[in-house]
């Protein structure tokens, strides 16, 4: 399996806080904003790595 290198994953909220809107993460060296869409390949890979216990997504600030 070819695996994305994902680091520094953290949920982000909207301008007034509240619900999480996405995940900011560094993927293969590039900072990305990943939507919470199961059909998005980056989100799917983040969730796969979380379930595998190899990645933790930090709560939003």
């Amino acid at each position: 399996m070819d695996i994305m290198n994902i680091t520094a994953a953290q949920y982000v909220t909207g301008p007034m806080g509240g619900d999480n809107l996405g995940i900011k993460a560094t993927i293969d060296g590039t900072e990305m904003s990943v939507p919470l869409d199961p059909a998005n390949r980056h989100y799917a890979e983040i969730m796969r790595q979380v379930e595998a216990g190899t990645l933790v997504v930090a709560e939003a600030d």
Partner: protein, 358 residues
Amino acid sequence: MSKARGLADLGNVYDDGALSNRNVIVNGGMTISQRSTSSTQTGTGPSYATVDRWELYRNSSLAPNITVSQSADAPSGFLNSMKVDVNATATPTGSQNFGFRTKIEGLDTGRFNRGTASAETMTLSFYVKSNKTGTYSAQIFDLGATIYSKLVAYTIDAADTWERKEITLQANTNSNSPTLSSSEGLRIAFDLGSGPDDVVPIFDWSTTYGIANRVASGQVNLLDSTSNYWQITGVQLEAGDTATPFEHPRSYGDELARCQRYFERWTFNSLFDWYVTSTADHAHDVDCPYNGSFAVAKRAIPTYSRSGTFVVDNLSSNDWTPKHTENTVNFYNSSSAAGRYYSYNSSTSAYFDFDAEL
């Protein structure tokens, strides 16, 4: 291919139900390259380096040093090919794999009647060229509740010569619940070097290996010389047992739009593109001049990334965050301070990327 042969093939494919829109491969002619026309790759893992819809795969820590480019060297009737040049030698070990693949959305595969006893035979055709002759592998994946794959081999017979390959894929008539949604339905992987653990005899549709890569006995290791290169274009996958002439897109614009369902880059060619003044009322999103609609609705809500330096005054961080859908993108800033906001691009080569690849 002679005109008589082409007409005969088209007559044959008429019986298979499609005289146009036969090819389910997007950018099989390698004409679209939104990200870059050349990229040196030294990492591992999957990467879309240059030509749209063609993903470089490297796994199990294999990190080949290669240059991937959109080349103007192509067979007669084509403008482009995708080319791989080897910059440093390597020998894949264990289960390491290296190659290129394209993924086909399930929504585009209805014509194949996948997962049923009446599934269609498919035919894969392409033009390929390399200095390195020998056996190469292609693996076709049929994804659904159960993942099937089929391994085929082709040979490059003459060095430095464009050759056309036509491979008929016996129908996968196994009962399955195939992916027919906007997720991945079919995958075609062209291997260019794999470790010995993944070398097997070619096989028909099988669940044995799941989504894992396998290669045929004798598979070439393209990485064994820095003189090696491999090029491909004119990739076509169609229903039926006959390879018809490559179906060129109606226009460059049409093919670009097909690619933009999966990836779209917004480029900005001048400084100070985005000067915005806003009275900060953070009960609302701050209006940004680069809010807008995508050229093409995306397959899924895309991932956003950017390149270039974006200077933002009166904000504690140089940051704009997207809040977008498959159709539109809106940015907001995370500051809670009142004031006026100025954002401008300090690079003439800055861009935003929106990635909804499979």
